[in-house]
């Protein structure tokens, strides 16, 4: 049984292939087009999934799409009517796109792929729920999905048990925690659907001093359910996210490139605090009503690692599961698991223990690329690969690290990563300036050996997908300053040999050489780019940025050609 999942035409287009209940491949289209958060039809991703599964499109039994387009269109029309005549600008922009593209999904799928079989449409939040619960290790778990908006729902909750998911309650558009956060993202001069992580990184520099004013912006009930005061927002009728009232109360927005100041830092801190407190209230109520020991989170808000860390610490769930592509990219996985389990009644037989679901390039392919392009390189043995890379890190070199299958989701988890020494207090600034070309306030993340991470981080469970923020123990902060954020926290990735052999061994070798089982890990891309996929992508990124060495498979490339 082959089930292909597709997500596209909003943001983070992707495809995934489930074969006999096992997730064989999943990848975002941005890795093929190089356009970050690409919305295009995921042709490259689909071709890769079919190739990885060893099948042709004729052997696909079902294709699933990540939303019900007519329900979403209904929401567009109702919102246009409800906000008439202010909705004109939004109406005239969106309707042509809907008529020519978004209401033509089956036609487009068949034209682009040549597929002739059944196409199924899974409601957006059901896809989010299935994308997390059905690949989780839990037989029973409470489910919470929170994002910007799907068809109508923006937040849902329910229970997953064995082969069954039931979402029992929802909050509907325009009341959306994700859109509230995006509105403040826009207010702070960052791009919506791209800059939310920047707001999260900025928040620890401020204080949530606007909590009182935000009580008029969002009403949160004790059960965590919420409702926005629409006087502050414009996303439901216009092309702006927030209304003039928002600026009347909170002052003028920050223009892009304008320096940040205490006010903007405090706005970031406030919206982050509101988000976290609301998520905590939702989770506490879910714990109370379901009695479940575990929680599965889906939707883009699930990528909020600060919120996830607090959930784990402050709500009495034994563990939480969030799959690495919790946002819309992950819904392609959700539709495949929903169809397989809920609609076809097949048993669950897959747990997502790692995110390495994308394309892989062999040493032969890497060597061919390097050779054909005359790039000087040195082949290393397994032992040399680890010893040399670790030594270069201790010599304060910045290394592009390219191994195995590409990660699914926005985080680089040691297969397409840029690595550095976390002990260097200047390393954050060095990498920000020389390599990543991004805002200086943004933190970097650590990868730590799972068995050693409790020595450094206050985190009681594995964090393989870098989706939990944990406190760095106060006595260790000076030891790993480059990955310790201003508030003493870090967005932790824990690494095991079973799931990530070479990367684990590299960190272990770094530990052997330095006594620190932690390395500095950031995604292998430059500002505004998607994470690299091919050896060519990796070399081009390496060549144009300030990385010192590139380690691809067993090959070492030096920036100055001296290997």
């Amino acid at each position: 049984m082959n089930i292909l999942g597709i997500s596209c035409f909003y943001h983070d287009a992707s495809a995934a292939l489930l074969q006999d209940g096992k997730l064989i491949a999943a990848v975002e289209e941005e890795r093929f087009t190089r356009k970050k958060h690409c919305t295009d039809f995921p042709k490259g991703s689909i071709d890769y999934c079919l190739k990885q599964g060893g099948i042709t499109i004729d052997q696909v039994d079902y294709i699933g799409f990540y939303e019900k387009p007519m329900l979403k269109f209904e929401r567009i029309l109702y919102t246009g009517l409800a906000t008439w005549p202010r909705s004109w600008s939004s109406f005239v922009r969106s309707i042509p796109l809907w008529l020519t593209q978004k209401l033509q999904i089956p036609v487009i799928i068949r034209q682009e792929t040549g597929y002739k079989g059944p196409i199924l449409f899974v409601e957006h939040h059901l896809a989010h729920a299935a994308s997390t619960f059905f690949v989780s290790p839990f037989d029973e778990a409470a489910i919470l999905t929170v994002d910007g908006v799907g068809e109508w729902a923006t937040t849902t909750c329910g229970l997953g048990r064995s082969n069954h998911i039931e979402l029992t309650q929802e909050i509907r558009f325009p009341h959306s925690l994700g859109l509230l956060y995006s509105a403040v993202t826009a207010y702070l001069g960052f791009e919506v659907n791209e800059g939310e992580g920047k707001v999260m990184g900025l928040a620890p520099y401020g204080q949530p001093v606007y909590r009182k004013q935000f009580e008029d912006v969002i009403d949160v009930k004790p059960d965590g359910s919420f409702r926005l005061n629409l006087d502050y927002f414009a996303f439901h009728y216009g092309t702006e996210m927030f209304s003039p009232r928002f600026e009347q109360v909170f002052g003028p927005r920050r223009q892009r490139g304008e320096p940040l100041n205490d006010h903007y830092n405090n706005m970031a801190a406030t919206v982050e605090a509101v988000l976290e407190d609301t998520m905590l209230a939702l989770a506490r109520d879910l714990k109370k009503t379901t009695g479940s020991h575990y929680l599965c989170i889906g939707g883009g808000v699930g990528l909020s690692s600060c919120s996830n860390g607090r959930l784990l610490r402050e709500v009495p769930f034994d563990d939480i599961f969030i799959q690495p592509a919790a946002g819309d990219g992950g819904t392609s996985v959700g539709v495949t698991t929903y169809i397989n389990t809920m609609l076809l009644g097949n048993p669950r037989n897959y747990v997502m223990r790692d995110a390495y679901l994308g394309p892989e390039y062999s040493d032969d392919e890497i060597e061919t690329y390097l050779g054909q392009n005359g790039i000087p390189h040195t082949r290393l043995s397994d032992k040399e690969l680890l010893e040399t890379t670790a030594r270069l890190l201790t010599e304060q070199k910045i290394i592009g690290w390219y191994q195995g299958r590409l990660e699914f989701g926005p985080r680089a988890l040691g297969h397409r990563s840029i690595l550095a020494d976390p002990r260097n207090p200047k390393m954050k600034e060095i990498v920000n300036e020389r390599v990543k070309h991004r805002e200086p306030f943004r933190p970097f993340a650590p990868s730590a050996l799972l068995d050693r991470s409790p020595e450094f981080f206050d985190c009681s469970v594995p964090s393989p997908f870098m989706l939990l923020v944990a406190d760095v123990h106060p006595d260790k902060r000076a030891l790993i300053p480059a990955i310790t954020h201003v508030d003493g926290t870090a967005r932790l990735q824990t690494v095991t040999r079973e799931e990530n052999g070479v990367y684990y061994d590299l960190i272990a070798e770094f530990d052997r050489q330095t006594g620190v089982p932690v390395i500095f890990n950031t995604s292998f891309n430059d500002k505004g780019e998607a994470i690299v996929r091919t050896p060519e992508d990796a070399y081009k990124c390496f060549a144009k940025t300030g990385m010192d060495y590139l380690v691809m498979g067993h090959f070492l490339v030096s920036k100055d050609g001296l290997t």
Binding site: Y78, W84, L120, A153, K221, S225, R227, I339
Partner: protein, 83 residues
């Protein structure tokens, strides 16, 4: 010469397509304008007159903003529909 003619025709064709595209966009805007300020206007005004809140058709439970969800109809026929 043939190549030059072909290039010229290709340029002409591209120009016509660009013009056609602009006309199509203009017509779309005009048609949507008419639709929005006639049919939409009538429905929107009637909805307001009769106090119908199109964004909030369902009322939540007291003391909460949650809305109850109907259980999904987990049949292939239901999921084959776009609504």
């Amino acid at each position: 010469m043939a190549s030059s003619n072909k290039s010229g025709l290709a340029r002409l064709w591209d120009g016509l397509k660009a013009f056609q595209n602009r006309v199509a966009i203009a017509l779309t805007v005009v048609l949507l304008f008419i639709l929005y300020f006639t049919v939409f206007a009538v429905i929107a005004i009637l909805a307001k007159l009769f106090g119908k809140d199109l964004l909030h058709p369902d009322k939540p439970e007291p003391g909460s903003h949650w809305l109850r969800r109907e259980p999904a109809d987990n049949t292939l026929e239901s999921f084959a529909r776009q609504f």
